[in-house]
Chain length 289, copies 2
Protein backbone atom coordinates (compact mmCIF):
# COMPACT_ATOMS: atom_id res chain seq x y z
CA UNK A 1 0.00 0.00 0.00
CA UNK A 2 1.35 3.40 -0.95
CA UNK A 3 1.95 5.82 1.93
CA UNK A 4 -0.15 9.00 2.02
CA UNK A 5 1.08 11.66 -0.37
CA UNK A 6 3.27 13.60 2.09
CA UNK A 7 3.53 11.19 4.99
CA UNK A 8 7.27 10.49 4.82
CA UNK A 9 8.31 14.10 4.56
CA UNK A 10 7.26 15.61 7.89
CA UNK A 11 10.07 16.04 10.40
CA UNK A 12 9.10 16.49 14.04
CA UNK A 13 11.06 18.71 16.45
CA UNK A 14 10.58 19.24 20.15
CA UNK A 15 13.64 21.47 20.72
CA UNK A 16 14.28 24.99 19.43
CA UNK A 17 17.98 24.55 18.58
CA UNK A 18 17.66 21.64 16.10
CA UNK A 19 14.55 23.23 14.57
CA UNK A 20 16.42 26.50 13.92
CA UNK A 21 19.36 24.64 12.36
CA UNK A 22 16.97 22.72 10.10
CA UNK A 23 15.10 25.88 9.05
CA UNK A 24 18.40 27.67 8.32
CA UNK A 25 19.27 24.85 5.92
CA UNK A 26 15.95 25.32 4.12
CA UNK A 27 16.42 29.10 3.92
CA UNK A 28 20.02 28.78 2.71
CA UNK A 29 18.77 26.50 -0.06
CA UNK A 30 16.47 29.33 -1.15
CA UNK A 31 13.14 28.15 0.26
CA UNK A 32 10.56 30.52 1.73
CA UNK A 33 9.15 29.41 5.08
CA UNK A 34 5.39 29.38 5.73
CA UNK A 35 4.33 29.03 9.38
CA UNK A 36 1.00 27.72 10.62
CA UNK A 37 0.84 28.16 14.41
CA UNK A 38 -1.64 25.82 16.12
CA UNK A 39 -2.64 24.58 19.54
CA UNK A 40 -3.36 21.08 18.25
CA UNK A 41 -6.75 19.30 18.29
CA UNK A 42 -6.66 19.99 14.59
CA UNK A 43 -9.52 20.17 12.13
CA UNK A 44 -10.17 21.23 8.54
CA UNK A 45 -9.64 24.88 9.48
CA UNK A 46 -6.01 24.10 10.26
CA UNK A 47 -5.43 21.89 7.23
CA UNK A 48 -6.81 24.67 5.00
CA UNK A 49 -4.00 26.90 6.35
CA UNK A 50 -1.39 24.21 5.61
CA UNK A 51 -2.78 23.84 2.10
CA UNK A 52 -2.72 27.61 1.52
CA UNK A 53 0.92 27.72 2.58
CA UNK A 54 1.81 24.85 0.25
CA UNK A 55 -0.12 26.52 -2.58
CA UNK A 56 2.03 29.65 -2.08
CA UNK A 57 5.11 27.52 -2.58
CA UNK A 58 6.29 27.81 1.01
CA UNK A 59 8.25 25.18 2.86
CA UNK A 60 5.43 24.62 5.32
CA UNK A 61 6.01 24.29 9.03
CA UNK A 62 3.48 24.01 11.85
CA UNK A 63 3.80 24.59 15.54
CA UNK A 64 1.69 22.66 18.00
CA UNK A 65 1.75 24.17 21.46
CA UNK A 66 -1.05 24.70 23.96
CA UNK A 67 0.13 28.03 25.34
CA UNK A 68 -0.66 28.41 29.06
CA UNK A 69 -0.02 32.17 28.94
CA UNK A 70 -3.11 32.81 26.82
CA UNK A 71 -5.56 30.89 29.02
CA UNK A 72 -7.16 33.18 31.55
CA UNK A 73 -9.23 30.23 32.80
CA UNK A 74 -7.19 27.29 34.22
CA UNK A 75 -10.17 24.92 33.72
CA UNK A 76 -10.28 25.81 30.03
CA UNK A 77 -6.55 25.03 29.77
CA UNK A 78 -6.97 21.70 31.58
CA UNK A 79 -9.86 20.66 29.35
CA UNK A 80 -8.28 21.80 26.08
CA UNK A 81 -8.37 18.74 23.78
CA UNK A 82 -5.00 17.07 23.05
CA UNK A 83 -4.19 14.23 20.67
CA UNK A 84 -0.65 14.55 19.30
CA UNK A 85 -0.65 11.31 17.33
CA UNK A 86 -3.86 12.18 15.47
CA UNK A 87 -2.59 15.73 14.88
CA UNK A 88 0.69 14.44 13.41
CA UNK A 89 -1.18 12.21 10.98
CA UNK A 90 -3.52 15.00 9.92
CA UNK A 91 -0.71 17.55 9.39
CA UNK A 92 1.45 15.10 7.55
CA UNK A 93 -1.26 14.16 5.11
CA UNK A 94 -2.24 17.82 4.66
CA UNK A 95 1.28 18.58 3.44
CA UNK A 96 3.02 19.98 6.51
CA UNK A 97 6.79 19.46 6.04
CA UNK A 98 8.02 20.02 9.59
CA UNK A 99 6.29 20.13 12.95
CA UNK A 100 7.49 21.85 16.10
CA UNK A 101 5.79 20.38 19.18
CA UNK A 102 7.67 21.67 22.25
CA UNK A 103 6.73 21.18 25.88
CA UNK A 104 6.07 24.10 28.22
CA UNK A 105 9.60 24.03 29.66
CA UNK A 106 11.11 24.48 26.20
CA UNK A 107 8.92 27.50 25.43
CA UNK A 108 9.06 29.09 28.90
CA UNK A 109 12.55 28.46 30.24
CA UNK A 110 11.95 30.86 33.11
CA UNK A 111 8.75 32.39 34.33
CA UNK A 112 8.03 35.21 31.95
CA UNK A 113 7.45 38.74 33.29
CA UNK A 114 6.88 40.43 29.92
CA UNK A 115 3.32 41.64 29.31
CA UNK A 116 1.85 43.45 26.31
CA UNK A 117 -0.78 46.15 26.09
CA UNK A 118 -2.41 47.20 22.81
CA UNK A 119 -4.33 50.31 23.74
CA UNK A 120 -7.99 50.07 22.72
CA UNK A 121 -7.62 46.93 20.60
CA UNK A 122 -7.21 44.48 23.50
CA UNK A 123 -9.77 46.11 25.79
CA UNK A 124 -12.86 45.11 23.78
CA UNK A 125 -14.62 41.83 22.81
CA UNK A 126 -12.34 38.88 23.71
CA UNK A 127 -9.96 41.19 25.57
CA UNK A 128 -12.76 42.33 27.84
CA UNK A 129 -13.94 38.79 28.65
CA UNK A 130 -10.52 37.12 28.74
CA UNK A 131 -8.18 39.47 30.63
CA UNK A 132 -4.53 38.79 29.80
CA UNK A 133 -5.45 36.56 26.85
CA UNK A 134 -3.99 38.76 24.11
CA UNK A 135 -0.84 39.50 26.06
CA UNK A 136 -0.30 35.72 26.19
CA UNK A 137 -1.08 35.39 22.50
CA UNK A 138 1.35 38.18 21.60
CA UNK A 139 4.04 36.59 23.76
CA UNK A 140 3.80 33.14 22.23
CA UNK A 141 3.45 34.46 18.68
CA UNK A 142 6.53 36.66 19.22
CA UNK A 143 8.36 33.55 20.41
CA UNK A 144 7.23 31.54 17.38
CA UNK A 145 8.06 34.34 14.93
CA UNK A 146 11.54 34.62 16.46
CA UNK A 147 12.08 30.87 16.51
CA UNK A 148 10.93 30.29 12.91
CA UNK A 149 11.69 33.64 11.24
CA UNK A 150 9.08 32.69 8.64
CA UNK A 151 8.45 34.61 5.42
CA UNK A 152 4.69 34.08 5.70
CA UNK A 153 2.35 33.06 8.52
CA UNK A 154 -1.21 31.79 8.24
CA UNK A 155 -4.14 32.34 10.58
CA UNK A 156 -7.88 31.69 10.55
CA UNK A 157 -10.56 34.36 10.30
CA UNK A 158 -12.51 32.83 13.18
CA UNK A 159 -9.99 34.37 15.61
CA UNK A 160 -10.37 37.77 13.96
CA UNK A 161 -9.37 39.94 16.92
CA UNK A 162 -6.33 37.71 17.44
CA UNK A 163 -5.35 38.36 13.83
CA UNK A 164 -5.62 42.13 14.41
CA UNK A 165 -3.40 41.85 17.51
CA UNK A 166 -0.83 39.77 15.61
CA UNK A 167 -0.92 42.26 12.74
CA UNK A 168 -0.16 44.99 15.27
CA UNK A 169 2.91 43.30 16.77
CA UNK A 170 4.01 42.35 13.27
CA UNK A 171 4.10 46.04 12.33
CA UNK A 172 5.07 47.62 15.64
CA UNK A 173 7.93 45.20 16.37
CA UNK A 174 8.99 45.04 12.69
CA UNK A 175 8.66 41.31 12.31
CA UNK A 176 7.43 42.35 8.84
CA UNK A 177 6.15 38.86 8.04
CA UNK A 178 3.56 38.47 5.29
CA UNK A 179 0.41 37.57 7.25
CA UNK A 180 -2.49 35.71 5.71
CA UNK A 181 -5.98 35.56 7.25
CA UNK A 182 -7.93 32.69 5.69
CA UNK A 183 -11.69 32.07 5.67
CA UNK A 184 -13.33 30.29 8.58
CA UNK A 185 -14.09 26.67 7.71
CA UNK A 186 -17.58 25.60 8.77
CA UNK A 187 -19.55 22.44 9.42
CA UNK A 188 -22.47 21.79 7.02
CA UNK A 189 -24.88 23.53 9.42
CA UNK A 190 -22.64 26.63 9.59
CA UNK A 191 -20.92 26.05 12.95
CA UNK A 192 -17.37 27.40 12.76
CA UNK A 193 -14.85 24.61 13.13
CA UNK A 194 -13.12 24.80 16.50
CA UNK A 195 -11.00 22.49 18.60
CA UNK A 196 -13.49 23.06 21.38
CA UNK A 197 -16.44 21.66 19.37
CA UNK A 198 -15.54 18.08 20.41
CA UNK A 199 -16.50 19.00 23.96
CA UNK A 200 -20.13 19.69 22.98
CA UNK A 201 -22.68 16.94 23.66
CA UNK A 202 -25.10 16.16 20.81
CA UNK A 203 -27.80 18.48 22.13
CA UNK A 204 -25.34 21.35 22.67
CA UNK A 205 -23.79 20.67 19.28
CA UNK A 206 -27.17 21.14 17.67
CA UNK A 207 -27.81 24.45 19.43
CA UNK A 208 -24.28 25.69 18.68
CA UNK A 209 -25.13 26.25 15.04
CA UNK A 210 -27.50 29.04 16.04
CA UNK A 211 -24.49 31.32 16.57
CA UNK A 212 -23.72 31.45 12.86
CA UNK A 213 -27.39 31.33 11.88
CA UNK A 214 -28.03 34.46 13.94
CA UNK A 215 -24.96 36.20 12.54
CA UNK A 216 -26.21 35.67 8.99
CA UNK A 217 -29.75 36.79 9.88
CA UNK A 218 -28.36 39.87 11.61
CA UNK A 219 -26.23 40.75 8.61
CA UNK A 220 -29.22 40.37 6.32
CA UNK A 221 -31.40 42.58 8.53
CA UNK A 222 -28.70 45.27 8.75
CA UNK A 223 -28.27 45.28 4.99
CA UNK A 224 -32.03 45.72 4.66
CA UNK A 225 -31.76 48.85 6.79
CA UNK A 226 -32.87 47.64 10.23
CA UNK A 227 -31.19 49.50 13.11
CA UNK A 228 -28.37 47.75 14.99
CA UNK A 229 -30.30 48.12 18.23
CA UNK A 230 -33.33 46.27 16.83
CA UNK A 231 -31.15 43.63 15.16
CA UNK A 232 -29.23 42.98 18.34
CA UNK A 233 -32.36 42.70 20.49
CA UNK A 234 -33.84 40.16 18.12
CA UNK A 235 -30.67 38.10 17.84
CA UNK A 236 -30.13 38.08 21.59
CA UNK A 237 -33.68 36.89 22.12
CA UNK A 238 -33.29 34.13 19.52
CA UNK A 239 -29.98 32.95 20.90
CA UNK A 240 -31.13 32.75 24.48
CA UNK A 241 -34.58 31.29 23.87
CA UNK A 242 -33.49 27.66 24.25
CA UNK A 243 -31.77 28.27 27.58
CA UNK A 244 -28.75 26.33 26.26
CA UNK A 245 -26.74 29.39 25.24
CA UNK A 246 -25.28 32.07 27.50
CA UNK A 247 -24.28 35.02 25.35
CA UNK A 248 -21.12 36.92 26.34
CA UNK A 249 -21.24 39.49 23.61
CA UNK A 250 -22.76 40.19 20.22
CA UNK A 251 -21.25 43.31 18.70
CA UNK A 252 -21.13 45.24 15.44
CA UNK A 253 -17.62 46.69 15.22
CA UNK A 254 -15.40 48.55 12.78
CA UNK A 255 -13.38 45.80 11.10
CA UNK A 256 -10.15 47.80 11.25
CA UNK A 257 -10.23 49.17 14.80
CA UNK A 258 -12.74 46.74 16.39
CA UNK A 259 -14.28 49.71 18.16
CA UNK A 260 -18.07 49.49 18.49
CA UNK A 261 -18.91 53.13 19.10
CA UNK A 262 -18.04 54.75 15.79
CA UNK A 263 -19.03 52.78 12.72
CA UNK A 264 -19.70 55.39 10.04
CA UNK A 265 -20.02 52.94 7.18
CA UNK A 266 -21.95 49.67 7.60
CA UNK A 267 -19.85 48.12 4.82
CA UNK A 268 -16.81 48.47 7.06
CA UNK A 269 -18.51 46.55 9.87
CA UNK A 270 -18.05 43.08 11.28
CA UNK A 271 -20.37 41.15 13.57
CA UNK A 272 -18.64 39.30 16.40
CA UNK A 273 -20.09 36.87 18.90
CA UNK A 274 -18.96 34.91 21.93
CA UNK A 275 -21.27 32.52 23.75
CA UNK A 276 -21.07 29.65 26.18
CA UNK A 277 -22.91 26.55 25.00
CA UNK A 278 -23.20 23.96 27.76
CA UNK A 279 -19.72 24.38 29.29
CA UNK A 280 -17.95 25.32 26.08
CA UNK A 281 -17.08 28.88 25.08
CA UNK A 282 -17.41 29.47 21.32
CA UNK A 283 -16.67 32.50 19.15
CA UNK A 284 -17.53 33.42 15.59
CA UNK A 285 -17.73 36.48 13.37
CA UNK A 286 -19.11 37.66 10.04
CA UNK A 287 -18.02 40.70 8.05
CA UNK A 288 -20.92 42.75 6.67
CA UNK A 289 -19.26 42.77 3.25
Amino acid sequence: MAPPKYARKMKVFTRIGPLRAFLDEQKFSGKSIGLVPTMGALHSGHTSLVQASRANGDFTVCSLFVNPAQFNDPADLAKYPRDLAADERLLSSAGCQALFAPDVAEMYRQSSQTRFDFGQLDKVLEGKFRPGHFSGVALVVSKLFNIFHPHRAYFGHKDYQQFKIISMINQDLNFDIELHCLPTIREPDGLAMSSRNVRLNPDERQHASSLFRNLTSAREALLKGMSWQAVREKAEKNLQSSGMIRLEYLELADKDTLQTDKLDNLGNGILLIAAIVGAVRLIDNLPIK
Copy 2:
Protein backbone atom coordinates in the same frame (compact mmCIF):
# COMPACT_ATOMS: atom_id res chain seq x y z
CA MET B 1 47.80 60.40 3.11
CA ALA B 2 46.48 56.91 3.86
CA PRO B 3 42.80 56.73 4.75
CA PRO B 4 41.92 55.63 8.26
CA LYS B 5 42.15 51.89 8.73
CA TYR B 6 38.47 51.07 8.15
CA ALA B 7 37.17 54.28 6.59
CA ARG B 8 36.28 52.99 3.16
CA LYS B 9 34.37 49.97 4.35
CA MET B 10 31.33 51.42 6.14
CA LYS B 11 28.09 51.29 4.19
CA VAL B 12 25.29 53.61 5.30
CA PHE B 13 21.61 52.66 5.08
CA THR B 14 18.54 54.75 5.83
CA ARG B 15 15.91 52.20 4.67
CA ILE B 16 15.05 48.83 6.21
CA GLY B 17 14.62 46.89 2.95
CA PRO B 18 18.09 47.46 1.46
CA LEU B 19 19.71 46.95 4.88
CA ARG B 20 18.02 43.55 5.28
CA ALA B 21 19.08 42.49 1.79
CA PHE B 22 22.67 43.53 2.54
CA LEU B 23 22.70 41.69 5.89
CA ASP B 24 21.26 38.55 4.29
CA GLU B 25 24.20 38.58 1.87
CA GLN B 26 26.63 38.74 4.81
CA LYS B 27 24.85 35.92 6.64
CA PHE B 28 24.68 33.75 3.53
CA SER B 29 28.43 34.17 3.13
CA GLY B 30 28.81 32.74 6.63
CA LYS B 31 29.44 35.90 8.65
CA SER B 32 28.07 36.42 12.14
CA ILE B 33 26.39 39.79 12.70
CA GLY B 34 27.27 41.95 15.72
CA LEU B 35 24.87 44.83 16.44
CA VAL B 36 25.69 47.99 18.40
CA PRO B 37 22.48 50.02 18.83
CA THR B 38 23.12 53.74 19.51
CA MET B 39 21.30 57.05 19.64
CA GLY B 40 24.28 58.90 18.15
CA ALA B 41 26.31 61.67 19.82
CA LEU B 42 28.91 59.00 20.08
CA HIS B 43 31.85 58.74 22.46
CA SER B 44 34.46 56.22 23.54
CA GLY B 45 31.82 54.14 25.28
CA HIS B 46 30.22 53.43 21.92
CA THR B 47 33.49 52.81 20.08
CA SER B 48 34.48 50.30 22.78
CA LEU B 49 31.34 48.32 21.86
CA VAL B 50 32.24 48.43 18.17
CA GLN B 51 35.74 47.24 18.98
CA ALA B 52 34.43 44.40 21.15
CA SER B 53 32.20 43.25 18.30
CA ARG B 54 35.09 43.34 15.84
CA ALA B 55 37.30 41.47 18.32
CA ASN B 56 34.63 38.71 18.44
CA GLY B 57 34.93 38.38 14.67
CA ASP B 58 31.47 39.77 13.98
CA PHE B 59 30.51 41.67 10.88
CA THR B 60 29.82 44.82 12.88
CA VAL B 61 26.78 46.97 12.28
CA CYS B 62 25.55 50.00 14.21
CA SER B 63 22.19 51.66 14.36
CA LEU B 64 21.87 55.36 14.98
CA PHE B 65 18.36 56.41 15.88
CA VAL B 66 17.12 58.83 18.51
CA ASN B 67 14.01 56.93 19.53
CA PRO B 68 11.11 59.26 20.45
CA ALA B 69 9.21 56.41 22.16
CA GLN B 70 11.74 56.17 25.00
CA PHE B 71 11.77 59.87 25.88
CA ASN B 72 9.23 60.61 28.56
CA ASP B 73 10.37 64.27 28.53
CA PRO B 74 9.89 66.09 25.17
CA ALA B 75 12.48 68.73 26.18
CA ASP B 76 15.08 66.01 26.72
CA LEU B 77 14.29 64.63 23.24
CA ALA B 78 14.56 68.09 21.65
CA LYS B 79 17.91 68.79 23.34
CA TYR B 80 19.40 65.36 22.67
CA PRO B 81 22.74 66.05 20.89
CA ARG B 82 22.87 65.14 17.17
CA ASP B 83 25.83 65.22 14.80
CA LEU B 84 25.50 62.54 12.13
CA ALA B 85 28.61 63.52 10.16
CA ALA B 86 30.86 63.31 13.23
CA ASP B 87 29.21 60.06 14.29
CA GLU B 88 29.81 58.50 10.88
CA ARG B 89 33.50 59.40 11.00
CA LEU B 90 33.89 58.02 14.52
CA LEU B 91 32.09 54.73 13.76
CA SER B 92 33.95 54.24 10.52
CA SER B 93 37.34 54.67 12.11
CA ALA B 94 36.34 52.47 15.07
CA GLY B 95 35.68 49.59 12.66
CA CYS B 96 31.92 49.69 12.11
CA GLN B 97 31.17 48.00 8.78
CA ALA B 98 27.62 49.16 8.17
CA LEU B 99 25.47 51.89 9.69
CA PHE B 100 21.67 52.06 9.78
CA ALA B 101 20.52 55.66 10.35
CA PRO B 102 16.76 55.75 9.64
CA ASP B 103 14.41 58.67 10.20
CA VAL B 104 11.37 58.45 12.49
CA ALA B 105 8.96 57.69 9.61
CA GLU B 106 11.01 54.65 8.60
CA MET B 107 10.99 53.22 12.14
CA TYR B 108 7.40 54.15 13.02
CA ARG B 109 5.36 53.74 9.86
CA GLN B 110 2.13 54.14 11.77
CA SER B 111 1.57 55.34 15.31
CA SER B 112 2.44 52.42 17.52
CA GLN B 113 -0.08 51.18 20.11
CA THR B 114 2.03 48.35 21.50
CA ARG B 115 3.25 48.85 25.06
CA PHE B 116 5.35 46.58 27.28
CA ASP B 117 5.23 45.91 31.00
CA PHE B 118 7.97 44.03 32.85
CA GLY B 119 6.46 43.42 36.26
CA GLN B 120 8.71 44.69 39.04
CA LEU B 121 11.76 45.33 36.83
CA ASP B 122 10.43 48.46 35.12
CA LYS B 123 8.74 49.93 38.19
CA VAL B 124 11.95 50.85 40.06
CA LEU B 125 14.90 53.23 39.52
CA GLU B 126 14.74 54.66 35.97
CA GLY B 127 11.31 53.12 35.45
CA LYS B 128 9.96 55.05 38.43
CA PHE B 129 11.39 58.39 37.30
CA ARG B 130 10.87 57.94 33.55
CA PRO B 131 7.37 56.45 33.09
CA GLY B 132 7.05 54.69 29.73
CA HIS B 133 10.80 54.84 29.09
CA PHE B 134 11.46 51.09 29.16
CA SER B 135 8.39 50.29 27.09
CA GLY B 136 9.86 52.60 24.44
CA VAL B 137 13.28 50.99 24.82
CA ALA B 138 11.80 47.49 24.46
CA LEU B 139 9.83 48.55 21.40
CA VAL B 140 12.79 50.03 19.53
CA VAL B 141 15.15 47.22 20.52
CA SER B 142 12.57 44.65 19.36
CA LYS B 143 12.40 46.53 16.06
CA LEU B 144 16.18 46.58 15.74
CA PHE B 145 16.54 42.91 16.68
CA ASN B 146 13.92 42.01 14.06
CA ILE B 147 15.46 44.25 11.40
CA PHE B 148 19.05 43.04 11.93
CA HIS B 149 18.55 39.48 13.25
CA PRO B 150 22.02 39.77 14.76
CA HIS B 151 23.95 36.92 16.34
CA ARG B 152 25.32 39.18 19.06
CA ALA B 153 24.40 42.61 20.41
CA TYR B 154 26.51 44.94 22.53
CA PHE B 155 25.42 47.32 25.27
CA GLY B 156 27.11 49.49 27.89
CA HIS B 157 27.02 48.81 31.63
CA LYS B 158 26.12 52.45 32.36
CA ASP B 159 22.54 51.70 31.27
CA TYR B 160 22.40 48.68 33.54
CA GLN B 161 18.63 48.54 34.08
CA GLN B 162 18.16 48.90 30.32
CA PHE B 163 20.41 45.88 29.85
CA LYS B 164 18.27 43.88 32.29
CA ILE B 165 15.10 44.86 30.39
CA ILE B 166 16.67 43.91 27.06
CA SER B 167 17.85 40.61 28.55
CA MET B 168 14.26 39.97 29.61
CA ILE B 169 12.74 40.53 26.15
CA ASN B 170 15.61 38.57 24.63
CA GLN B 171 14.59 35.56 26.74
CA ASP B 172 10.83 36.03 26.93
CA LEU B 173 10.35 36.71 23.21
CA ASN B 174 13.00 34.12 22.19
CA PHE B 175 15.18 36.51 20.24
CA ASP B 176 17.93 34.35 21.78
CA ILE B 177 20.67 36.77 20.75
CA GLU B 178 24.01 36.58 22.55
CA LEU B 179 23.99 39.80 24.61
CA HIS B 180 27.16 41.47 25.82
CA CYS B 181 27.26 44.09 28.58
CA LEU B 182 30.56 45.96 28.42
CA PRO B 183 32.23 48.09 31.09
CA THR B 184 31.33 51.76 31.43
CA ILE B 185 34.01 53.98 29.88
CA ARG B 186 34.93 56.93 32.08
CA GLU B 187 36.59 60.32 31.82
CA PRO B 188 39.89 60.65 33.75
CA ASP B 189 38.01 62.05 36.78
CA GLY B 190 35.60 59.09 36.80
CA LEU B 191 32.55 60.66 35.14
CA ALA B 192 30.79 58.02 33.06
CA MET B 193 30.90 58.90 29.38
CA SER B 194 27.47 59.97 28.16
CA SER B 195 26.09 61.73 25.12
CA ARG B 196 24.47 64.19 27.50
CA ASN B 197 27.82 65.28 29.03
CA VAL B 198 28.36 67.82 26.22
CA ARG B 199 25.40 69.76 27.59
CA LEU B 200 27.17 70.42 30.93
CA ASN B 201 28.85 73.81 31.37
CA PRO B 202 32.40 73.77 32.82
CA ASP B 203 31.23 74.27 36.39
CA GLU B 204 28.54 71.56 36.10
CA ARG B 205 31.03 69.28 34.38
CA GLN B 206 33.34 69.58 37.37
CA HIS B 207 30.58 68.76 39.85
CA ALA B 208 29.31 65.86 37.74
CA SER B 209 32.30 63.74 38.68
CA SER B 210 31.04 63.60 42.27
CA LEU B 211 28.45 61.00 41.18
CA PHE B 212 31.08 58.35 40.56
CA ARG B 213 33.26 59.57 43.46
CA ASN B 214 30.37 59.03 45.85
CA LEU B 215 29.55 55.63 44.36
CA THR B 216 33.13 54.44 44.99
CA SER B 217 33.14 55.87 48.54
CA ALA B 218 29.81 54.24 49.25
CA ARG B 219 31.02 50.89 48.01
CA GLU B 220 34.15 51.16 50.14
CA ALA B 221 32.12 52.03 53.25
CA LEU B 222 29.69 49.15 52.65
CA LEU B 223 32.55 46.70 52.23
CA LYS B 224 33.98 47.97 55.55
CA GLY B 225 30.68 47.06 57.20
CA MET B 226 28.89 50.40 57.44
CA SER B 227 25.09 50.12 57.23
CA TRP B 228 23.38 51.08 53.97
CA GLN B 229 21.32 53.64 55.81
CA ALA B 230 24.38 55.43 57.12
CA VAL B 231 26.19 55.16 53.80
CA ARG B 232 23.25 56.58 51.92
CA GLU B 233 22.78 59.50 54.30
CA LYS B 234 26.42 60.45 53.98
CA ALA B 235 26.48 60.17 50.19
CA GLU B 236 23.27 62.16 49.81
CA LYS B 237 24.68 64.90 52.01
CA ASN B 238 27.94 64.98 50.00
CA LEU B 239 26.18 65.04 46.66
CA GLN B 240 23.80 67.83 47.54
CA SER B 241 26.27 70.04 49.46
CA SER B 242 27.26 72.15 46.44
CA GLY B 243 23.67 72.94 45.48
CA MET B 244 24.56 72.00 41.88
CA ILE B 245 23.18 68.47 42.02
CA ARG B 246 19.58 67.38 42.44
CA LEU B 247 19.54 63.72 43.36
CA GLU B 248 16.71 61.59 41.94
CA TYR B 249 17.76 58.32 43.52
CA LEU B 250 20.71 56.55 45.10
CA GLU B 251 19.91 52.90 45.67
CA LEU B 252 21.57 49.65 46.65
CA ALA B 253 19.81 46.92 44.67
CA ASP B 254 20.10 43.23 43.93
CA LYS B 255 22.02 43.10 40.66
CA ASP B 256 19.78 40.36 39.24
CA THR B 257 16.31 41.61 40.18
CA LEU B 258 17.09 45.33 40.79
CA GLN B 259 14.81 45.13 43.82
CA THR B 260 16.01 47.23 46.75
CA ASP B 261 14.11 45.60 49.59
CA LYS B 262 15.67 42.16 49.77
CA LEU B 263 19.44 42.11 49.35
CA ASP B 264 20.60 39.10 51.35
CA ASN B 265 24.19 39.16 50.14
CA LEU B 266 26.08 42.45 49.78
CA GLY B 267 28.29 40.83 47.12
CA ASN B 268 25.24 40.53 44.90
CA GLY B 269 24.51 44.24 45.21
CA ILE B 270 24.84 47.14 42.81
CA LEU B 271 24.74 50.86 43.60
CA LEU B 272 22.72 52.95 41.16
CA ILE B 273 22.37 56.69 40.94
CA ALA B 274 20.44 59.27 38.93
CA ALA B 275 20.94 63.01 39.43
CA ILE B 276 20.26 66.24 37.62
CA VAL B 277 23.34 68.42 37.26
CA GLY B 278 22.44 71.87 35.97
CA ALA B 279 19.76 70.91 33.48
CA VAL B 280 21.26 67.56 32.55
CA ARG B 281 20.07 64.22 33.91
CA LEU B 282 22.92 61.76 34.47
CA ILE B 283 22.98 58.15 35.62
CA ASP B 284 25.73 55.82 36.79
CA ASN B 285 26.15 52.58 38.71
CA LEU B 286 28.75 50.46 40.44
CA PRO B 287 28.52 46.78 41.33
CA ILE B 288 29.72 45.96 44.85
CA LYS B 289 31.86 43.14 43.43
